[in-house]
Amino acid sequence: MVDAAVLTQIDDLQSRYMRTLDRRAMDDWAACFDGQGSYVCIARENEEQDLALAIMMDDNSERIRDRVTYVTKIWVGVFEDYTTRHFVQRIECRQLQPALFLVESNFMVAYTTSRGRSEMLVAGVYKDEIVLGEGGAAFRSKRAILDTTVTPRYLVYPV
């Protein structure tokens, strides 16, 4: 049984993560990861067949910073923007080490185009390793596994 105070810290981190993406605050998104953090977004089809190819693979903190650069500098002005709304529900939490937790959460992300139409962008499950430190909780690794194997159009923002 994981302590309620720990779960509160973990849920606060997930809320912060959703908030930064939905508000497109990319620097704050990168700050959700600890200094050794990694972010991977991969199709379930690959995950289940031990195929490592991902849709986004930021396997070190420099890559996470580079994803911020993609979104805020490199792709600027070439895509029709869209807004996202993340909905996340924790379904499992296990303690791996005194300050390290394995957390699994379902997610759905809706997106709305500039024409004002909303549809489902992706659905799936997060498998996260979360560390608790003096500064609060942070992602050691975040793995977004997409049930939505065929994603619509393009994915500018991480999920």
Partner: protein, 395 residues
């Protein structure tokens, strides 16, 4: 001037060779004719690489036009492509993307086929119509051919001989898949573009450095290379990336390095009519299978590979590069997906789309045709092939 087919008789093809009617991107009647004359007509379609179905009994599902097909590695080692449809009542036989089985069983009435497509048996066969012969009910087999392990098929008996279809692209395809096609599957990315299939296929060199910021960073537009169109309206884009790129603002440039010791870094793109792409970008080996879902939607499956001879570090590098350079969130490809839906929306206006860059004369362009760097004129050869396949007459 009227087209020969009654359904599309109102479509007017412009007399100028650098113009294409926008109507062809969104009309339902044009789309239905495309399925008949192109996707089920005399063209070849890339469906799989042997490494995706490496063992006997392995299968993969795919789509040609809107027709489901099943690619099966037979017990005899031969790869066959079948209509993914029971010969009894047309039930789709396999629904998952890939799998393995000793046989192929239809769930509806339990008709059973072996991995060579033969009907083994069916419950209640004694009560079947008089004269029923099992051999008449084998799975419908498509004409199938293989080059460097890449599997192609066609529904049409009138498609040209496979070697003639590939023509001058053969050495470039071989180079793109590591010389001999001995590949190992790394995984997939799949995306649905809100666009007509022809807008997806109409990609050219003109937009490269203008739309893609990363192309400028990698100096791809200023490197040496060749682009040409073949007589079957295929395009080969072969650029050797000899110059060390400026990695610009990226902190981890390892993801865009060329590390394959057997190859000078290349940007090699072979675009096969109608909708198949073989790509080797830096160290990414990528086959792109695509099919139209409707006139307004195109689905693309990116399959990524390593070479069997790669060491562990190079495999890891190819995985990182493929996961970050290409696909729906790719460093060098996101912008394409982001512009396709705008082309499609814009094509619902009257008139013609035009090609200008590299167009030198008023008439048709002879093949083979060498394109200038960053030109779009080569696409007119594709469009001329399309126009003739569809039977549209010039006004």
């Amino acid at each position: 001037m009227l087209a020969r087919n009654g359904d599309v008789s109102t479509l007017r093809w412009p007399s100028k060779f650098n113009e294409v009617p926008k109507d062809v991107f969104n009309r339902e009647d044009v789309y239905r004719l495309e399925l008949e004359r192109i996707f089920y007509g005399p063209e070849w379609h890339m469906l799989a690489h042997r490494s995706e179905i490496a063992k006997a009994g392995d299968f993969k599902t795919a789509t040609i036009g809107q027709a489901p097909v099943l690619i099966v590695h037979g017990d005899d080692g031969e790869i066959r492509v079948f209509a993914n449809s029971c010969t009894h009542r047309a039930t789709q036989l396999k629904t998952c993307a890939r799998g393995n089985g000793k046989e192929i069983e239809c769930p509806y009435h339990r008709w059973l086929f072996n991995n060579q497509g033969d009907l083994i048996g069916a419950p209640g066969m004694r009560e079947f119509k008089q004269g029923f012969r099992r051999e008449d009910y084998a799975l419908r087999k498509l004409r199938t051919a293989e080059f460097c392990g890449i599997v192609f098929a066609t529904f049409s008996d009138d498609a040209p001989a496979f070697d003639d279809y590939l023509g001058e692209t053969r050495p470039f395809i071989a180079k793109a898949v590591g010389g001999d096609g001995r590949l190992k599957l790394l995984g997939y990315q799949k995306v649905s573009f809100a666009s007509n299939w022809k807008a997806y296929a109409d990609n050219e060199g003109y937009h490269g450095p203008l739309l893609h910021t990363a192309f400028q960073m990698l100096k791809w537009s200023t490197s040496n290379g060749a682009q040409f169109m073949t007589s079957h309206a295929h395009k080969v884009n072969h650029i050797e990336l000899g110059q060390l790129p400026d990695f610009g603002p990226l902190q981890d440039s390892s993801v865009i390095e060329g590390r394959d010791p057997k190859l000078v870094p290349v940007n090699l793109i072979i675009s096969l009519f109608p909708l198949s792409l073989v790509i080797h970008n830096l160290d990414v080996i990528n086959l792109r299978y695509a099919f139209p879902v409707s006139p307004h939607e195109t689905e693309v499956h990116y399959a990524y590979f390593a070479h069997e001879d790669d060491d562990e570090a190079l495999v890891r590098h190819r995985i990182r590069q493929g996961s970050n350079l290409q696909g729906p969130s790719g460093f060098i490809s996101l912008e394409d997906g982001a512009v396709f839906n705008r082309i499609h929306t814009g094509s619902h206006t009257a008139g013609n789309a035009e090609f200008q860059k590299g167009v030198t004369g008023p008439g048709p362009i002879a093949t083979p045709f060498n394109l200038g760097k960053g030109d779009e004129a080569g696409n007119l050869i594709r469009w001329e092939h399309y126009r003739q396949a569809m039977g549209f007459e010039r006004g």
